[in-house]
């Protein structure tokens, strides 16, 4: 019998500055974040044997490019992961698997995102004749990246459960509560429910404040074996369990489980594998690219029953500082800035280290991270070593 399973720990987290403006150099941003993570871990580029990039736009440097920049001698494991993965956590999951399987000893994942990438706004061009999957969408003007799809999701959420718009507003308001305590965050001004309900329609019923906040930035995370982690600079954070999920017949537009997608399977598998339960979780970092996504995670993970978010969330304070379900404690993508979920992972690590200063959740021992949306989902459950 071979040993393909080892305990894995997160030992380094790094950030570039996040900024709304400027004309960033994505390679320089990435290098800044990766060096920050290496310094945090007390490692050097030559110690990195595995690199996993979550690729979304063409501007982000690939795994091999980063190996060149940091002087990694010979990558034993690497991948540039497609944007169909569970968002930024996809790279971290791959890095953990590479270390757990013994394919490499120490692995890096990173995400660089700039406002130039993706269809973040404006008018797209494109061919007048559209084949492939687009032939069923583009002739109807269902484009502009993700916005039309997310508007359709929100509308259906409201119709299916008679869900008030304030449900979605609680997610947006909460993000700013925490961002006010996070020096990294880009949007630190508090907002009220009235601000949310008055924010302009992007594609009705989707509002501006339902959407994450595009920024220029990079985030990096380093993992290694739990054994090796004991000799490194930081208090290790252990990966207790992790899962992927797509749901049946996964599809971006025509998913058979239209509201929950892969979140339910992801959550069920997580609680089967984890050594702890939801009651033990001290804080949650749940994907908030759009507010409906966060609600799908909260309900799927079992914080409340399906369709019961409104009663569960109350006035929303339970999600905020001092609440019993502290969520997205760095401000999330709605307010800290859109880094595709890997910043959620790093925030969880820093909370478990107890280094989050003003926004620190007292005595945080267990953190839950969920990333991605609808048909591309993943979770990671972390514990303080």
């Amino acid at each position: 019998m071979t040993s393909l399973t080892r305990d894995v720990a997160i030992v380094g987290v790094g950030f570039s500055p996040f900024a709304r403006a400027g004309e960033p150099n994505p390679r320089a941003l990435t290098l800044t974040a990766v060096r920050d993570a290496l310094a945090d871990a007390g490692l050097r580029g030559k110690d990195i044997e595995g690199i996993f990039e979550y690729k979304f736009g063409p501007e982000s440097p690939g795994a091999q490019d980063v190996a060149r920049m940091i002087g990694s001698p010979d990558l034993a494991a690497f991948a540039d992961i497609m944007p169909t993965n569970p968002s930024g956590l996809g790279g971290a999951l791959a890095a953990v698997m590479a270390v757990a399987s013994g394919t490499c000893e120490t692995a890096l994942t990173f995400r660089c995102l700039t406002r130039a990438s993706g269809s973040t706004g404006g008018v797209a061009g494109g061919p007048r004749e559209v084949g492939g999957r687009g032939q069923y969408l583009t002739p109807y003007g269902a484009l502009g990246g993700i916005l039309v799809e997310m508007a359709l999701k929100k509308q259906r959420w409201m119709a299916e459960y008679g869900r008030p718009e304030s449900d979605f507003g609680h997610i947006a308001v909460n993000a700013r509560r925490w961002a006010a305590l996070n020096p990294r965050a880009c949007l630190r001004e508090p907002i009220t429910m009235d601000d949310y309900l008055g924010s302009r329609a992007i594609a009705a019923p989707l509002r501006l404040l339902d959407c994450d906040y595009p920024v220029n930035g990079a985030v990096a995370t380093i993992v290694t074996t739990a054994e090796r982690a004991r000799d490194l600079r930081q208090q290790p954070v252990l990966i207790d369990a992790m899962t992927y999920g797509t749901g049946p017949a996964p599809d971006w537009t025509f998913h058979p489980d239209y509201l929950y997608g892969g979140t339910l399977g992801c959550a069920n598998r997580l609680w089967q594998r984890a050594s702890v339960t939801l009651d033990d979780v001290d804080l949650a970092q749940l994907y908030d690219g759009f507010t409906s996504v966060t609600i799908s995670w909260i309900e799927a993970l079992g914080a409340c029953g399906r369709g019961e978010f409104a009663d569960w969330v109350g006035d929303g304070s339970r999600l905020g500082p001092g609440g019993d379900f502290p969520m997205n404690t760095g401000g999330g993508q709605l307010a800290e800035g859109r880094l595709h979920g890997i910043s959620l992972l790093n925030e969880a690590v820093q909370q478990l280290r107890g280094t989050c200063a003003e926004r620190q959740v007292p005595d945080a021992q267990v953190a839950l991270v969920a990333s991605g949306l609808y048909q591309q989902c993943a979770t990671m459950l972390l514990t303080a070593a």
Binding site: V130, Q135, L143, Q155, R156, A201
Partner: protein, 148 residues
């Protein structure tokens, strides 16, 4: 009084590029019939057309004319152009319609022949119409009174 119909070439909106899997669908629409793949093994309908049945993985389909009736499953009002082909088309409604033939059988469409700011709600009955687009027709849906 109505103006002269614009020549087709003036409609800048994108058109589908049929392939061997989808050709029946667009040819059917051009002949004003809504044809949907129905698996010969499990008898489930599926949309969009695919190379195999996503319900039972069967390979053989009947190309079945369906009623064209359904209910509004979800919708959004697009009032800014997201694509250069739609600059003159805003505002328009993008919707998912659930066909009456099978729960969960969704098509993406526009809701036409309605004021985009008129009151739509999920569950409203809708029916197919076939809209000329260049040399072909594309299925679209409009509100209908009859909920049959």
């Amino acid at each position: 009084m109505t103006g002269l119909p614009l020549p087709d070439t003036s409609d800048p909106r994108p058109v589908p590029l049929p392939d061997e899997v989808s050709r029946f669908y667009w040819e059917g629409a051009t002949a004003e019939r809504l044809l949907v793949q129905r698996c010969r093994s499990c008898r489930q309908f599926q949309y969009p057309p695919d190379v195999c049945c996503v319900h039972c993985q069967g390979d053989d389909f009947d190309l079945t004319a369906v009623s064209g009736r359904g209910h509004l499953y979800s919708f959004t009002l697009v009032d800014r152009p997201l694509h250069e082909g739609f600059i003159d088309a805003v505002p328009y409604v993008v919707a998912l319609v659930e066909l009456v033939e099978q729960p969960g059988l969704l098509l993406l469409t526009n809701i036409v022949e309605t004021q985009p700011n008129s009151e739509l709600r999920c569950g409203m009955p809708v029916e197919v119409v076939f809209e000329k687009r260049g040399d072909i027709r594309v299925p679209q849906f409009r509100r209908t009174e009859a909920d049959s």
